[in-house]
């Protein structure tokens, strides 16, 4: 039998409808305030499933990573994975949540072919953690988005509707994913536009990756996102009726879907209609959200405490252990970079986007002793080179120690900035240290007075006109002469020394 969900009505009609929705005037839109909350599912990066020992592995042959527990066979019982709990606690702590010392699993009952037990084991009235927040930056302003709760649950399997010769009549089920550990992170309705939602989802992904809870690979379904969207007349308190939008498998689609949904609701209300509380699916093709099931058909999940699991107790000691094993959170690290190294906000932000880049930077600073200069080199030149080569910072041919050394050489006047800029690509190419390249290529700052004076003499001889100008009081021409000396020295001359010598010579 085929159990694919009802297909969408014809695309042309939808397209037309879409256009009319997009026609909502901006001033009308501005009369309403959108209210957005997100539910983010993050797959915990455990080796095994949450309630059995099966490996969590993407792309294995269908129904090979399964056992009686995740197949829902008669008599099989769940056993909670300690590693999954630790990662979930880590996530909760990173989101500044209060981790409940006592939480409980509950069954969420519904029928679906890829849900082998006929219920999902989730948490309901006593979740793992509550009352947290995530800071986001939108247009340079910091905003705190409340995190209502973080709870653990198991994932369902996967239904496959296409690709088999009898796919017109049958659907297939792959239960490899069944029992994959997830956390669901429910936000407060604190977001007010799609930029907020985008920033929240992005920040969430960053934090989860940062603390090693999940790789958050959206293409593998490791991070999934549902949005609750409602609108209310600006200035009013009462929430409007919300629609839940599912199937948002990229942050770009999240933003587009939220924008679409806001317009749809505003248009509906403006034309005298009423927003229904319902689940809507985002259609990537049409860019629209389409009603899936209305309240009348809403699921009654018949939650009740899971009798096969004992309550989850998180002792102070355990909580402390997990906390102390957590790396510094990106936002804390960003603040520290600003305070400790005097970085600009933008550089601090870029240098904490991933844990790897932050670690690289800190290691480079150890060698350079100069945070600001090092930040400039990492954010500017190095990242440019990495981007051009399609490489990640973790695979950078320039080691953090070598980059730090390069900066130190400049600060010690052994290299000019210009020369350093020539050396870095060579370091990138060969992986050699800056000193090795300097020695090999004879690239060294010339501070020796005798050598510099010889170059200066030849430059003065070649530019008699400028020398005249200088002597007649146009001292601004000195810059030109310094530049000529630098050029003649292939950038190796110490600019400070050149300046001084030139002044003395032209005296």
């Amino acid at each position: 039998m085929n159990f694919r969900r009802k297909s969408c009505p014809n695309a042309r009609a939808l397209y037309n409808q879409n256009m009319s929705v997009l026609a909502v005037a901006e001033d009308v839109l501005r009369k309403y305030e959108p209210v957005i909350g997100l539910e983010v599912h993050v797959q915990l990066g455990t080796k095994t499933k949450i309630f059995c020992g099966c490996p969590v592995e993407f792309g294995a042959a269908p129904n090979t990573n399964v056992c009686p527990v995740c197949l829902g066979l008669p008599g099989a019982l769940p056993v909670l994975s300690g590693q999954a709990v630790e990662l979930a606690i880590g996530a909760a702590v990173a989101l500044h949540c209060r981790v409940n010392p006592f939480s409980r699993f509950a069954r969420k009952n519904y029928f679906y072919p890829d849900l082998p037990k006929g219920y999902q084991i989730s948490q309901y009235d006593q979740p793992l953690a509550e009352h947290g927040y995530l800071a986001i930056f939108v247009d340079g302003a910091k905003k705190r988005i409340g995190v209502t709760r973080v709870h653990m649950e198991d994932d369902a399997g996967k239904s496959i509707h296409d690709g088999f010769k009898d796919s017109d009549r049958y659907s297939y089920v792959d239960l490899n994913r069944s029992g994959t550990p997830l956390i669901e992170i429910v936000s407060e309705p604190d977001m007010r536009n799609s930029d907020d939602a985008y920033a929240y989802a992005t920040a969430m992904k960053q934090v989860m990756q940062y603390i090693g809870v999940s790789e958050c690979d959206m293409e593998k379904g490791q991070l999934r996102c549902d949005a609750n969207v409602s609108v209310r007349p600006r200035g009013t308190e009462k929430f409007g009726t919300k629609a839940e939008i599912k199937n948002l498998n990229s942050f770009r689609f999240l933003k587009m879907a939220v924008d679409y949904e806001i317009r749809r609701q505003v248009e509906l209300i403006e034309s005298g209609g009423r927003v229904e509380q319902e689940t809507r699916l985002y259609n990537v093709e049409t860019g629209q959200t389409v009603g899936m099931r209305s309240k009348e058909h809403a699921h009654d999940y018949r939650y009740f405490p899971e009798p096969d699991l004992v309550p989850l107790q998180v002792s102070e000691h355990w909580l402390h252990q997990v906390k102390s094993a957590l790396p510094e959170l990106p936002q804390d690290r960003r603040d520290r970079f600003v305070n400790e190294f005097g970085l600009r906000d933008y550089d601090a932000e870029v240098l904490t986007l991933t844990r790897a880049v932050g670690d690289y930077f800190e290691e480079a600073v150890k060698a350079s002793g100069d945070g600001r200069a090092t930040a400039n080199w990492v954010v500017g030149d190095l990242m440019g080179l990495l981007k051009a080569a399609g490489k990640d910072i973790a695979d950078s041919p320039v080691s953090a120690a070598n980059l730090g050394e390069l900066v130190a050489l400049i600060n010690k006047n052994e290299l000019t900035g210009k020369l350093a800029k020539e050396i870095l690509p060579k370091m990138f190419e060969t992986g050699d240290s800056p000193r090795a390249i300097m020695e090999r290529e004879g690239l060294k700052q010339i501070s020796d007075t005798g050598a510099l004076e010889a170059i200066i003499e030849s430059v003065l001889a070649a530019n008699p006109k400028q020398v005249e100008q200088y002597k007649s009081g146009k001292t601004a021409v000195l810059g030109f002469l310094v530049g000529q000396v630098m050029k003649a020295s292939r950038g190796q001359a110490n600019p400070g020394a050149v300046n001084e010598l030139l002044r003395k010579r032209l005296g």
């Binding site: 008669p74 769940p78 009654d300 018949r302």
Partner: protein, 481 residues
Amino acid sequence: MSNVPPVPTLTIGRIREGLRRKEFSAVDVATATLEFAERENPKTNAYLTFSSERALEAANRVDDQIANGEHLGELAGVPLGVKDVIVTKGLRTTCGSHILEHYIPPYDATAVIRLEEEGAIVIGKLNCDEFAMGSSNENSAFGPVRNPAALDRVPGGSSGGSAAAVAQGTCVVSLGSDTGGSIRQPASFCGVVGVTPTYGRVSRYGLAAFASSLDHIGPFGRNVEDAATVLKVMAGRDELDSTSAFATVDDYGPLMKQDIKGLKVGLPKEYFAGLSADTDAIIRAATKKLEDLGCQVNEISLPHTKYAVACYYIICTAEASSNLARYDGVRYTLRSDSDTLSEMYRNTRGAGFGAEVKRRIMLGTYVLSAGYYDAYYLKAQKVRSLIAQDFANAFERVDAIVAPVSPFPAFKIGEKIEDPMSMYLSDIYTITGDLSGVPCMSVPCGQSPDGLPVGLQVFARHFDESTMFRLAWNFEQAMKS
């Protein structure tokens, strides 16, 4: 083989002795039991499946151990029947239901593994009420089981096959499951010993769930010692069942044989209302016997007993409605193919489940529904705590509690099947044990005037099976004389 004593007279002790003296081999015992069981089974319909191959392999292993002078397990060569709600690898496990008629599990229940490791010989799978839901074994998709003591009567349920097989002698010991009395009531009806251990004492891994917070695996035997031995072997923490207890398991054998002089025994007054006159007389005689043995028997009160039936049928149906959702036609069950998914679910479950199972799924779905949860499920959980508290209070004053198992002895097949309410009410004395989680058992204590067995129910404190067995063993010895 001719050296094997009559199969129905075998006990664990007799088999151990025979093997030690080389009177007979384990294969002799297994073969004789299988022959006897296959011949006698049509009378009772206790077995749904025989496992000759598995039994003979296991018996051969025991004989090899004997030949090699190796250490023998505590259950070496002991024929064991297993209720068909307990999964057995490669051996059909139907749960008494059409929906699992052809289901062959790929793994063994922990209890079965532990018993086989100690040398037990699995003879076959035993009939029961569908998914263990029933008190008469009439709800099996494979026909009712008849009571060996009176073939026109029910053996009780839901572990009717497990009790009948032990009573009939087609196995020495068996496994049953108890959610609301499904071990003790059939034990009482068939005149054998049936034990519901403390909740968490025996791993439920591999027991097809009916109501997870109430389900127990427990043993049947023809005497207290055999049942206790089986329990001892399979009891104890199992990493695969999060609700299994870490509590240490006593060596019941020597402990149960201490006397019971001075043991404080409570007689709950609420358990004597609505009792048939015959049963009442038999239970009173039994308590007199306990006094003769030196027990101090006193009336006690378990005041919330009257709410137990209502409380039980809310909790057990709620959990059942969820536990049975997995039988959906998608994977290993029967499937009624249909054009749409919801039709497939309806047809599969409509055709696969019997009337009682459907009734309980509907009740359970109802009590968990939005708007009803607080009034039913949540309230029932509170009542459950009160019932557990009743026992805790009582056990501050007494060491054990004795009571009837059932208001009446085995009834006629068909007599109550049309009246589910009266069937539910007949569980009244047994469900409190499951709701409170204390260990309890039925030990034969006499016969009604028309020769029907009656059991005495014994309760003890959580994890104090030793005291329960001690009382039951002393009583059993006294009944013999």
